[in-house]
């Protein structure tokens, strides 16, 4: 299966969506995955190809490059997973009129989700929602899906490890179910 993942945040960026997307790419690596990452020099993930959109460019240049990349990667794949954020949602909405690939919106960024309830972003968010195949919202408890840190004076929480593994298996299965 060919999957394109679009994300506004990716390590070394900070904020919960970044490590989530990196883990997602690792979990999806049995598929042919291409990531479109808004960033400069992202951390590498084995077996994943990626293109970057430098956020330090002007907003207009970022938008144009995003449209170009999403269109070219999106038209030839089986599923587009877009992580929420105005910078990813606007170009994906525009591109959605020119491709037939199913689009899955992942609400991985709680701050962006809150911002999508107001102003221009609200309009874009609504327009995109009318064009997509489905939406996935991540649990508010980040411990369920973010990598568990190994700390020197803490015991390993086996129960949490099991919960995480289960959550990720179900999460990936749910994502795969969106492919026609």
């Amino acid at each position: 299966m060919r999957i394109t993942v679009i994300t506004p945040l990716f390590p070394p960026d900070i904020g919960a969506p970044a490590p989530y997307v990196k883990t997602l790419l690792q979990k999806l690596n049995s598929h042919q995955v291409h990531a479109i990452i808004y960033g400069h020099l992202p951390e590498s993930v084995p077996n994943i190809t990626y293109t970057t959109i430098d956020k330090r460019s002007s907003k207009f240049v970022v938008l144009l490059k995003a449209i170009w990349e999403i269109y070219h990667a999106g038209k030839n794949c089986d599923l587009i997973i877009i992580n929420n954020g105005l910078s990813t949602e606007l170009p994906t909405w525009l591109v959605s009129y020119f491709i037939r690939t199913p689009i899955l919106l992942c609400l991985s960024d709680q701050l962006a989700k809150q911002a999508s309830e107001f102003g221009l972003y609200k309009q874009v968010h609504q327009l995109l929602k009318n064009r997509i195949t489905g939406t996935i919202e991540l649990p508010t408890d980040e411990k369920l899906f973010l990598p568990i840190e190994k700390l020197p004076f803490a015991s390993i929480d086996d129960e949490m490890n099991v919960q995480q593994n289960t959550w990720w298996i179900e999460h990936v299965a749910k994502i795969e179910s969106y492919v026609k």
Partner: protein, 373 residues
């Protein structure tokens, strides 16, 4: 040569004492009018304080003093009438204010409350709350040291300027270092060391690190754009009620996020190698391999910096202090040699250096060091 060194050292001390004699009465006069009295014992003007000048920041001349308010509560007084010193105090104030306003910062820092900002008789004086701590950082249990240091280092990582807008908003106030800037600074260290009669062995070590920094510049760039504290060591923060307060905001800048990690780990090589090991293991077990590389590169950069710092001090000192500074240059070169092999310097070298340092330190410097970390 010896005579020249002695003269240099004596001149530096005399200048410092003249400076204190001219500034202290005036500072005392100004702050007394606002209800503050300088305390008799002033640890931050003793010992080797006269030699201290940062290598990579434009540190000005300023005094850090203790005073008491009318209720007898201790406060911290930062005072200067030196132009660069004033810029530094104003810069620190701006940094503190902007940091609390950044809309892309995930974590905020706690800072001591500013009690007074005075501009009088050509002086700028900033009076802040004194954070009383029950024990110094290094006297705390290792678990607490690890937890506090990791939390503070993560708090710095919580702020990253990634977009053109972010960079615009911070560049007016904060210094912004790219990987090219780090390489340029390191070239400066190497040039200074070559010109200042440091041994060939040390020059070769710094040259090897320069080669490595150049070859792996991408890793430095990859972790750039982060808020980082260039002097992140225990005497620049205090802990009260399980909250860490950052004392020096003027050393904050945007750059490679491991700059503060590297400074902290290099410091711990000397003061607490167990904590150093724990933090390195943490990075190796929880972070990307590229991040470990970046950390190592910044350690090499900062070791080049500290060797240059002490090599400069050698030129300005005499007698026991000169010998001590020479020992320091050699010690940090030994640390650099180990880090180039990605190993830790042997405990024997650390212990020998500590013994020698304690014998060579002046009584006043020993007093200044009490409870500092």
């Amino acid at each position: 040569m010896l005579k020249l060194n002695l003269m240099l050292n004596n001149k530096s001390i005399q200048n410092w004492q003249d400076y204190l004699a001219s500034e202290l009465p005036q500072i005392s006069y100004i702050i007394e009018k606002h209800g503050y009295t300088l305390t008799e014992d002033q640890p931050h003007i003793k010992g080797e304080r006269f030699l201290m000048q940062a290598v990579t920041t434009t540190a000005g001349k300023k005094l850090i003093l203790y005073a008491t308010n009318q209720a007898g509560k201790t406060v911290v007084v930062k005072a200067t009438r030196d132009w660069a010193g004033k810029q530094e105090l104003l810069h620190e104030r701006k940094c503190r204010t902007l940091l609390h306003q950044l809309n892309f910062s995930y974590d905020t820092f706690h800072s001591p409350t500013e009690l007074a900002f005075l501009e009088q008789n050509k002086f700028i004086i900033v009076i802040t709350e004194f954070i009383e701590q029950t024990s110094s950082f290094l006297d705390r249990p290792i678990e607490e040291q690890f937890s506090f240091s990791l939390t503070a280092l993560k708090a710095q990582e919580g702020t990253r300027a990634t977009t053109a807008g972010h960079i615009r908003s911070i560049r007016k106030v904060f210094n912004y270092r790219t990987s090219a800037d780090y390489l340029n600074l390191h070239t400066g260290f190497l040039t200074f060391l070559k010109q200042n009669a440091v041994t060939d062995e040390i020059i070769n070590l710094v040259f090897q690190s320069h080669e490595k920094l150049t070859q792996q510049q991408t890793y430095i760039e990859q972790y750039g754009g982060f808020l980082t504290h260039t002097d992140f060591v225990p005497h620049n923060f205090r802990i009260k009620d399980q909250t860490l307060y950052l004392l020096d905001f003027s050393s904050l800048q945007f750059g490679n996020k491991h700059e503060s990690w590297a400074r902290f780990l290099n410091f711990m090589t000397l003061y607490n190698s167990e904590l150093e090991t724990l933090l390195i293991n943490y990075v190796e077990q929880n972070r990307a391999p590229e991040e470990r590389e970046s950390l190592q590169l910044m350690r090499l950069f900062r070791l080049g910096e500290i060797i240059t710092y002490y090599a400069k001090n050698v030129a300005q000192s005499a007698d026991a202090l000169k010998t001590l500074n020479q020992e320091r240059v050699q010690f940090w070169a030994d640390v650099l040699a180990a880090e180039l092999q990605n190993t830790r310097v042997s405990r024997e070298i650390v212990t020998n250096y500590q013994t020698s340092r304690d014998q060579l330190r002046s009584k006043e410097e020993k007093e200044r060091q009490v409870g500092l970390h």
